[in-house]
C-alpha cells in the first residue's frame, strides 16, 4: 500500500456533532488499520456555542505529531470552517453541506473562500439526514458517509463503530444514525462516481494488531486504575477534569473512591493523608491548581510522604489560556514551593507513556517517599492515539514502599540517616513503629530540630535520596546513529513527537542530526545529557513556553549557548518550525 499520511478535520459549531463525528472517524480509521493521532479543539468558555474542530492525522506509519496542513476538511458549518481554509493543503478535499436550509449570501458558504484548486464535494447533509431518519441531527453521520465513499473506506467499518457508539442509546437512535450514514454514502457513491479519491482503502491481507483509541488523560486514569489506586481526590480544572470524570466511574467499580474536594489545597492534603496511611492516592490538576498545592507538596517533601500529582499544563500564568496547550509549569514543578525541596518530576511524551509513567509514579513515590509530579499538557492530555492496549507488568505494579524490618528491636527512627537517604517508612498501625511527623525540620526520630548541623544534614539527606532516584528513572533516549552530530535536538513532553519527526526528516536526507528525549526532568541524568551535547555542534531545545524552561534547566551542561525554540502560542509546535530551525543552524 502506498504511504498514507493525511490530516482530516471536522469543523462545526458546538451542537453540530463535530466532536462525535471526529471520534467516529478516528475509531473507523483505527479499525481500518491506520495509525491515528487526533486532537480536538473547542471553545474556552463553557457555553452552548463556539467553534469545534477535530484534527486527525492518519497514516500507515506511527504518527508522531500533528501535521500543519489539512488534506480533508469536513465542514458542518461553513462560517466556522472558513477559519480553517488557510491550513488547507493544495488540492485538498472539502466536503460541505451544499443544501443549507435557506439561501446564504456570498461569504457565508465555504466555496466562496477556498482556492480554486480545492476539490469541492457538496453533499446535502441536512436534507439527506432528514429524509433518511426524520431529523437533521444525523447530518454529521451523513457527512461521514460521503467521506467514506470518496476516500474508499468500506462502509462496514463505519457501521461497526456507529453501532458501538450508539447501540447503548437504544435501537431507534442507532438506526437513525446508521440511516443517516448510509444516506451520505449512497449519495456520494453516485454523485461523485468519477471523482472518488479512494486513497484510504485498507489493504485486505495485512494483519492488524488490536488497537485502542486512547487519550492521554484516559491513559493516565487507566494507568492509575491498573496500579491499584485506592483514592482519588481532585477539583475540576481544564485540562485535567477528564481524569476525574473517568475515575469517578471506574474507580468505585474496583473498590476505590473518588472524592471531589473543595479546592486543590484540600485535594493534595487528602492525597498526603491517604498515602501517609499507606494507601495509593493521586490528584490531577492544572497550573492554577498546582500553584495552590505547592506548599503542601513541600510538606510531603519535608515529612517524606509519597504523593502522585498530575499537572496537566495549560497556557498560563494565572487562569491563562484554559483550553490551550503550554509547557510552562516546568519551573514550578521542579522548583515551586518554599525551601530546598527536591522532588521527582517526570514527563511522558505520548499516550502510551502517559499510561506507563502514571503506573511508575506510584512506585517512585513510595520508594523515595516523595511527591512525584507527572507533567503533561493540554495537547498530550486531549490528543487521541490508537495504541496497542497498554498493560503494566507485575513488576511495575509492586508495592514500592520500603518498610522497616518488623523484627527490629529498639526505638524506631522514622527518618534514619542512611547512605541512600531512604529511611524505611512505617505506616500507622504497624505495632512498635510509632513516630512523629511534622513539616518542621526534624531529627531522625521525627521530633523538631533546628540546629544548624541537623538542617544541613537533613537537607543533604533529602537531596541525596532524590538524586538516588536516577537509577529508577528512565534515562534519556537518543535517536541517532551515534557519533558526532551537526545538530542535536533535545525535547520533552508533547513537543518531543514534533522534534523527532523533524529530526527523522533530516536523517532521511542523510544529515547528521539526532534527537534526545528527556522524560526525567528532576532529577535528570546530567552525565548522559552532557555526553550527548558534547557530540553535537549545536543543541536545539524546542519547547512550548516563552522562557525556554528546559533550556534554563539543562542549558548549562553545554559548552556554549543552546539554541532555544520557544513557542508560546497555545498551540502544539509543528515539526516544520523545528525543521526550519535545524536547517537555519546547519546553514550557519
Amino acid at each position: 500500500m502506498p504511504k498514507v499520511d493525511i490530516t482530516i478535520e471536522v469543523c462545526g459549531m458546538s451542537g453540530d456533532g463535530t466532536i462525535a463525528a471526529g471520534g467516529l472517524l478516528n475509531a473507523a480509521m483505527s479499525e481500518a488499520g491506520f495509525s491515528v493521532l487526533a486532537f480536538d479543539s473547542y471553545p474556552a468558555e463553557i457555553r452552548g456555542f463556539g467553534r469545534c474542530v477535530t484534527r486527525s492525522r492518519i497514516g500507515n506509519e506511527e504518527m508522531l505529531a500533528l501535521a500543519e496542513k489539512t488534506h480533508v476538511l469536513i465542514s458542518l458549518d461553513d462560517e466556522q470552517s472558513r477559519s480553517r481554509i488557510p491550513f488547507l493543503e493544495k488540492g485538498a478535499a472539502v466536503i460541505f453541506d451544499n443544501k443549507p436550509p435557506s439561501y446564504v449570501g456570498e461569504g457565508h458558504a465555504i466555496p466562496a473562500h477556498v482556492e480554486p484548486d480545492i476539490n469541492l464535494f457538496g453533499i446535502p447533509f441536512s436534507d439527506l439526514a432528514a429524509e433518511a431518519s426524520g431529523s437533521t441531527r444525523g447530518r454529521n453521520l451523513t457527512a461521514l458517509g460521503g467521506f467514506a465513499v470518496i476516500f474508499g473506506l468500506p462502509p462496514e467499518i463505519f457501521r461497526h463503530v456507529i453501532q458501538k457508539k450508539f447501540a447503548p442509546k437504544g435501537e431507534k437512535v442507532l438506526q437513525a444514525n446508521l440511516m443517516s450514514f448510509d444516506a451520505g454514502y449512497n449519495f456520494a457513491m453516485t454523485a461523485f462516481e468519477d471523482r472518488l479519491l479512494k486513497i484510504l482503502t485498507p489493504p485486505e491481507t495485512e494483519e492488524k494488531t488490536e488497537k485502542l483509541l486512547l487519550s492521554g488523560n484516559v491513559a493516565i486514569a487507566q494507568g492509575a486504575l491498573d496500579a491499584n489506586l485506592k483514592l482519588y481526590f481532585g477539583y475540576p480544572i481544564t485540562p485535567a477534569t477528564p481524569i476525574l470524570e473517568y475515575l469517578a466511574k471506574a474507580l468505585p467499580e474496583k473498590g476505590g473512591k473518588v472524592l471531589q474536594m473543595e479546592d486543590e489545597i484540600s485535594s493534595i492534603g487528602a492525597v498526603l493523608g491517604c498515602y501517609y496511611a499507606g494507601q495509593r492516592a493521586m490528584t490531577a490538576t492544572s497550573g492554577p491548581g498546582f500553584a495552590l498545592m505547592t506548599e503542601l507538596i513541600t510538606h510531603g517533601i519535608m515529612a517524606e510522604i509519597p504523593a502522585v500529582i498530575i499537572d496537566a499544563q495549560r497556557g498560563g500564568p494565572a487562569t491563562g489560556l484554559p483550553t490551550k496547550t503550554e509547557q510552562s509549569d516546568l519551573h514550578a514543578a521542579v522548583f515551586g514551593g518554599p525551601g530546598d525541596s527536591p522532588r521527582i518530576v517526570i514527563a511522558p511524551t505520548n499516550v502510551t507513556e502517559c499510561y506507563e509513567y502514571t503506573v511508575k509514579s506510584f512506585q517512585l513515590a513510595e520508594k523515595y517517599q516523595t511527591p512525584v509530579i507527572v507533567l503533561t499538557d493540554f495537547f498530550l492530555d486531549n490528543r487521541v492515539e490508537n495504541v496497542p492496549m497498554p498493560q503494566a507488568s507485575k513488576e511495575a505494579l509492586k508495592d514500592g514502599n520500603i518498610y522497616p524490618d518488623p523484627s527490629a528491636k529498639g526505638p524506631y527512627n522514622r527518618f534514619e540517616l542512611t547512605e541512600s537517604g531512604i529511611s524505611p517508612r512505617a505506616v500507622p498501625g504497624m505495632e512498635d513503629f510509632m513516630f512523629t511527623t511534622t513539616g518542621l525540620e526534624h531529627s531522625e526520630s521525627g521530633g523538631p530540630n533546628y540546629t544548624p548541623e541537623n538542617h544541613m544534614q537533613f537537607s543533604e539527606k533529602r537531596h541525596r535520596k532524590i538524586q538516588g532516584a536516577l537509577e529508577d528513572l528512565s534515562i534519556p533516549k537518543e535517536f541517532s546513529k551515534g557519533g558526532s552530530l551537526d545538530v542535536g535536538v533535545i525535547s520533552w513532553g508533547s513537543t518531543f513527537g514534533s522534534a523527532l519527526e523533524a529530526v527523522q526528516k533530516e536523517q532521511e536526507k542523510g544529515l547528521k542530526v539526532g534527537a534526545l528525549k528527556i522524560t526525567s526532568l528532576f532529577p535528570f541524568h546530567d552525565e548522559i545529557i552532557r555526553g550527548f551535547m558534547e557530540r553535537c555542534g549545536e543543541v536545539l531545545i524546542p519547547e512550548l513556553n516563552f522562557q525556554g524552561q528546559l533550556a534554563n534547566l539543562i542549558g548549562h551542561l553545554h559548552r556554549k549557548d543552546v539554541v532555544r525554540i520557544n513557542q508560546a502560542t497555545g498551540k502544539p509546535i509543528p515539526a516544520s518550525i523545528i525543521l526550519e530551525k535545524i536547517e537555519e543552524v546547519l546553514k550557519a
Binding site: 439561501y103 458558504a109 466555496p111
Partner: protein
C-alpha cells in the same frame, strides 16, 4: 464592501478573456470568475490530441489556477451557477449561495448537441466537450478495439484522427444533421467520406441507424442499414449548442442562445453574454447569428468586458462571413484540415 463586483460565468476563452480585460481595465473592481469545471483554463481544441496521447495534460492549459490569483481574479472552479436573477442582480450557485453583482458576463459556452431522433440512445453514446470527457474517453478507449463515430462535425474528424493514431478501428456514420458548424451538401459529404475511407475508416453515408443495444460491458450492437456490427464505444458529434438551459426561468431573453444586441448586451443594464452561448443581433441583416470557435470567443469576451465598463463597441462581423446552417446564421473562426 463598496468596490464594484463583476461576475463572469464560464472559464472558456470568452469568459477568461472577459475576466482578464475587466481586471486590466478596472483594477479596483472585484472580479469573480465562476466555472463549473474544476480545471483551469484549457484549450478544448487540444483535447483530441490529448486523447491520442500526443500531448500531456499540462500542455492543454492556457492558465493554471494559480495564475488567476496573481492577476487578482477570484476563480471559483467546480461551482455551478443554477440561476440568474437579472432584476435583483443576483446569481444563485448550486450550493444555494447567492452572489450579488454590479456587472455580469455570461460566457457559458456550448454543450454537445444530440439530434432528437438519437436521444433514445444517449446513454450509449459519448461526447467530447470538456477535459473530464476526454479523461473518460482515455479510460475507456484502452479496453476496446472498434469505435463508431456518428455525426460529422469538426470535432468528430479530430477525434477520428486521434483514434486512428491510437490504432483503433473506426467506423464512421456520416449524418446529414451533423455538419455543424459547416454548410453541408452532397459534394462535401462525398469528399469527407472519401478522405475517411482513404485512412481506413469504414464509412456509412446515407444510411439509417436502425438500433443500438448493449451486448456486454464493452460491446454495443449497432444496426446501420443492412449492416450489423459491434462497437466498443460510440461517439456522437453533432456540434455544440448554446448551454443556456439553466437560464430558462431567469427572465433573460433566450432563443437558441442568449439573445444580445450588437454590443452583446442582454437588454438588462450591466448584463452581457458572449462567446458560444450568445446569439448576437446583426443590424444589417436584422437577424441573429451565433459564434463558434476559439478565436471568435476570445474576441467576443473582450468586447463584452469593454462594453460592461462603459464602451459601446459593436461586434463587427462582415455579412459575407455569416453562413446558414439549418436556418441559423453562423460565424466561425474554426478551421481545420483533415
Amino acid at each position: 464592501m463598496s468596490e464594484e463586483h463583476f461576475v463572469v460565468i464560464g472559464n472558456g476563452p470568452a469568459g477568461n478573456q472577459a475576466a482578464q480585460t475587466l481586471k486590466e481595465k478596472a483594477p479596483e473592481a472585484r472580479v469573480t470568475l465562476i466555472s463549473k469545471e474544476r480545471e483551469g483554463y484549457y484549450k478544448p481544441c487540444l483535447l483530441p490530441e490529448y486523447m491520442a496521447g500526443k500531448i500531456s495534460e499540462d500542455q492543454i492549459y492556457l492558465s493554471t489556477v494559480d495564475a488567476y490569483k496573481e492577476k487578482g481574479i477570484k476563480l471559483r472552479s467546480g461551482q455551478e451557477v443554477v440561476d440568474v436573477k437579472p432584476r435583483r442582480r443576483e446569481i444563485v450557485l448550486d450550493h444555494k449561495e447567492v452572489l450579488r453583482f454590479d456587472g455580469l458576463i455570461l460566457a457559458v459556452g456550448g454543450r454537445p448537441r444530440i439530434p432528437e431522433p438519437l436521444l433514445v440512445f444517449r446513454d450509449l453514446m459519448m461526447t467530447l466537450k470538456t477535459l473530464e470527457d476526454a479523461k473518460t474517453w482515455i479510460e475507456k478507449i484502452s479496453r476496446v478495439d472498434r469505435v463508431l463515430i456518428i455525426g460529422g462535425d469538426l470535432t468528430s474528424l479530430a477525434v477520428t484522427k486521434a483514434l486512428i493514431a491510437l490504432g483503433k478501428e473506426v467506423y464512421f456514420m456520416l449524418d446529414e444533421n451533423a455538419f455543424w458548424p459547416l454548410r453541408c451538401n452532397d459534394d462535401m459529404f462525398q469528399d469527407v467520406s472519401d478522405r475517411l475511407s482513404k485512412r481506413g475508416v469504414k464509412t456509412f453515408y446515407n444510411c439509417k441507424l436502425n438500433s443500438m443495444a448493449q451486448r456486454s460491458e464493452h460491446a454495443v450492437e449497432v444496426r446501420v442499414g443492412d449492416d450489423i456490427f459491434e462497437a466498443g464505444l460510440i461517439g456522437a458529434f453533432f456540434g455544440l449548442v448554446p448551454n443556456v438551459g439553466f437560464l430558462a426561468r431567469s427572465g433573460l431573453p433566450l432563443d437558441r442562445g442568449l439573445l444580445v444586441n450588437e454590443t452583446l448586451n442582454t437588454g438588462f443594464e450591466g448584463i452581457y453574454a458572449t462567446g458560444d452561448c450568445a446569439q448576437v443581433f446583426h443590424p444589417e441583416i436584422r437577424d441573429y447569428w451565433v459564434s463558434i470557435g476559439h478565436d471568435n470567443a476570445k474576441a467576443l469576451g473582450r468586447t463584452a468586458a469593454l462594453n460592461l465598463l462603459g464602451e459601446r463597441r459593436p461586434v463587427d462581423v462582415a455579412t459575407e462571413s455569416l453562413f446558414d446552417v439549418q436556418g441559423i446564421k453562423v460565424n466561425t473562426s474554426w478551421w481545420m484540415e483533415f
